[in-house]
Subunit: 342 residues, 3 copies
């Protein structure tokens, strides 16, 4: 299928600059632009690629002013990345989704399924499960008893959801995710052994959450582990029992959140960050990758390091950490002089 | 089902303070206590919640003395957390376990199964496997040839156990765990390529071990990777080939243990800790989250940092790391004075 | 099966020192050597074990000169570790591989399978998939539409490969690996929500790659995430969208590589390392465990720390970090003296 610059501009509410009849049928990155494709410029660091790019159409911001002639037709839009994402979305949704329940899928007693759903081969679903309209559940996935899944959610192959968990609408769960495994709770006993604390709570995943491959979200001891609306979790993240993650917070890969942490809304948390247990993290907090969080964090803070503190200060301290050998020499020189004087 | 304070007190070998006839049918956290539930107070930080709590019964320590009137009936016990765990355990075991072998489970040649077991849908079991009494093996799990599993072990859905591994009694293995994958062994060759070293050992999991979701435990090159009795492993932990973890050691999420490490008994190891290969870690060692362990560690040490050293010293050094910019200013001031003098 | 020292020496192109008729049927580590087994000495730290070892044959380097009498027969070879690996390989390949397609495997439309392959129970394969000769695909694995797999590749149980990914020859993929899940791409919107960026690229795994258990490799937004020939990835590693990893690079467990990083050839990267996005890492780079990489790295660098810099310098700085409390005391002493003087 082909789209002209004019058609795309209309779709994206943009403004064409250049030949409006030029047409594209695929996508490319600006640094690898090929004829017949559309590309985009969002990061100014990539601006120099636009002059040599062979892409036929390039999405740019409204205030973009070329410093040299550009061969491509430009479409000026409010946010080129979002506009490009819109087109990718339309493209990826143009593939027909699978529907129907595979004959090898195994559904327990009293399973309610909505319309227009797909359940793949060897999917195993427990008793008293509800699956909303337009859900896609891929092969070899296991869903425990009493699980509820809303509408339009997509669960990839090899996902394991334990009993009694709640999944909202338009949730995406990638392969290997485990939702609702027992929280890590053990009571120490006098003989040095540990007694398991039964975990009788559940996990609630609200609407529009995306969960990356092999991420684990443990069920609560009591009550619920809660992932609020719009949260995006990358791969291999650990979310312990009774954690709550606020709306639209984004967390990068391999971060670990210990039990009973309450993380605010709209936070951006880097990869491999670790949170100690029972912390309260505010809204709009930004945390650098590999940080270690041992204390509560207020709204809007930007932190770094392990243990973490204000990122600006951390960077300053780290500059001097790198220079410690020279600083020690300077100290020694002063000591030497002092010794000679006395 | 309802239990009175009197009945529970008898069960827990406790002492009632307040109305012994008040009854509960569920559980709550002390900070969210609801009528008709039982709660507990273990952490003194939460003590202030007891005065406003609406829980009907609260478990407290024998020496707890209220500072204000408490509405709830108290049951005084030796260890409120352990007592609460006991009740949760009784509650969670009151649900009838599934039994039988699902008709879609695939058992290889010469598989011996004990009494009172459950094997779920699409479980695939290899040849010459032994499964003890009262084991529960959930859907979509794969068990290789020559695996032995003791009595009363529970394996959740989507677990993968490679051939020839040994699982003890009362072991709990959560979804996504991989036991017995090849250790990461490659011999460098002259052409910059690596030659795989075949891993012909196995993994031995002793009794009462719990293994969290998506944790991986590699088989030994030769001999066995061994997880001793009572060890508790959280989610997403990496245990490399030929590692041995001593009895009742507890390890938090996302920690990684390199090949041939020998970790002692009764250690408490935080999350995201990394161990270099071939280390010997003593008994009763405590390691803070995110530590990096590059050397052997003696019994009873408490360490922190990457590379890790004595935690008390690490904290002191870190205080001055935070103050480095000010310290450098003080150094510069002395240098300035010195310069002016000379 | 038994092999004499003479036979093994011929096989390994070595030189026997001692009784050439002594025979072995199994393997042991030098520190645990048992009669009837062959062992090896590669690491000089283990040299002292050779004098007491009960192994019947021990592989050593050509220039090894015993300091005391050795009971075992020695076979001198160029590289004892590689020679031992060769024998382990022969041993492990002596077990008959399974062949055939299990009757419970589900193959989509237009699946082409080579000769001499094994497809295990409950494997689910999509449409238009090609599987080369001598491939082994174990139980409960899922392979999406339009995937191509070369010859002699081995895929263990519970692997999930999304649609349109390419797997080369002689690739080994361990249980729980997820290949081709969506990259973590979300465009921020004005209402604080994030719009998913559809990921329409794929993953390419070249020949002789090994991928450890529960590692995740995301598909590219556009184009391909590429793992070059001979790369070895340990368990629980995260490889984000559009990453490229160069030939024969070896990466230890739990390392995370953010989007669009290009890592060179022949690198050795420790465990729990984190890479920020869009970095270019040269060839032959060595990175210590737990390092945090925030900038490009040139060929042959050896780095450490978070943020990482030259490892030699890091170690020096760290020595003084440990001594910071004493250094501050020395600074205070000078300040005190200075104060007294003025």
């Amino acid at each position: 299928m082909q789209y002209s610059a004019e058609e795309l501009s209309e779709l994206l509410n943009g403004m064409v600059e250049g030949d409006p009849t030029v047409a594209v049928s695929s996508f490319s990155k600006i640094e690898e632009g090929r004829p017949g494709t559309i590309s985009f410029l969002a990061n100014p660091k990539y601006a120099h690629y636009i002059y040599g790019s062979k892409a036929s159409i390039i999405l740019v911001e409204h205030d973009f002013i070329p410093q040299e002639p550009v061969k491509a037709t430009l479409i000026k839009v409010d946010n080129p990345y979002v506009a490009f994402a819109t087109l990718l979305d339309i493209y990826s949704k143009s593939f027909r989704k699978k529907t129907g329940i595979d004959k090898t899928a195994i559904l327990g007693a009293n399973v309610k399924t909505g319309t227009d759903i797909f359940i793949g081969a060897n999917v195993v679903i427990g008793d008293n499960v509800t699956i909303g309209d337009k859900c896609q559940i891929a092969a070899n996935t296991t869903i425990g008893d009493n699980v509820n899944i809303g509408n339009s959610s997509e669960i990839f192959s090899g996902v394991h959801i334990y009993h009694s968990c709640e999944i909202g609408d338009s949730v995406t769960i990638h392969s290997g995710v485990v939702i609702g495994a027992d929280g890590f709770g053990f009571a120490p006993q006098q003989n040095d052994e540990f007694k398991k604390v039964a975990q009788i709570g559940n996990v609630i995943i609200e609407d529009h959450v995306e969960i990356g491959a092999n991420t684990t979200i443990d069920r609560a001891t009591l009550g619920s582990t809660i992932i609020r609306k719009g949260v995006k979790l990358d791969n291999l993240i650990q979310v312990a029992h009774n954690v709550e993650i606020g709306e639209n917070t984004v967390i990068a890969s391999q971060t670990g959140i210990s039990g009973s942490c309450k993380i605010g809304a709209n936070c951006m948390i880097g990869g491999q960050v670790g949170f100690a247990g029972h912390l309260k993290i505010g809204n709009n907090v930004r945390i650098a990758a590999q940080a270690g969080i041992g204390n509560n964090v207020k709204d809007n803070e930007v932190i770094m390091g392990s243990p973490a503190f204000y990122a600006g200060d951390y960077k300053k301290s780290y500059v001097f950490f790198r220079r410690l050998p020279q600083l020690v020499k300077r100290l020694e020189k002063l000591e030497e002089k002092d010794k000679n004087k006395s």
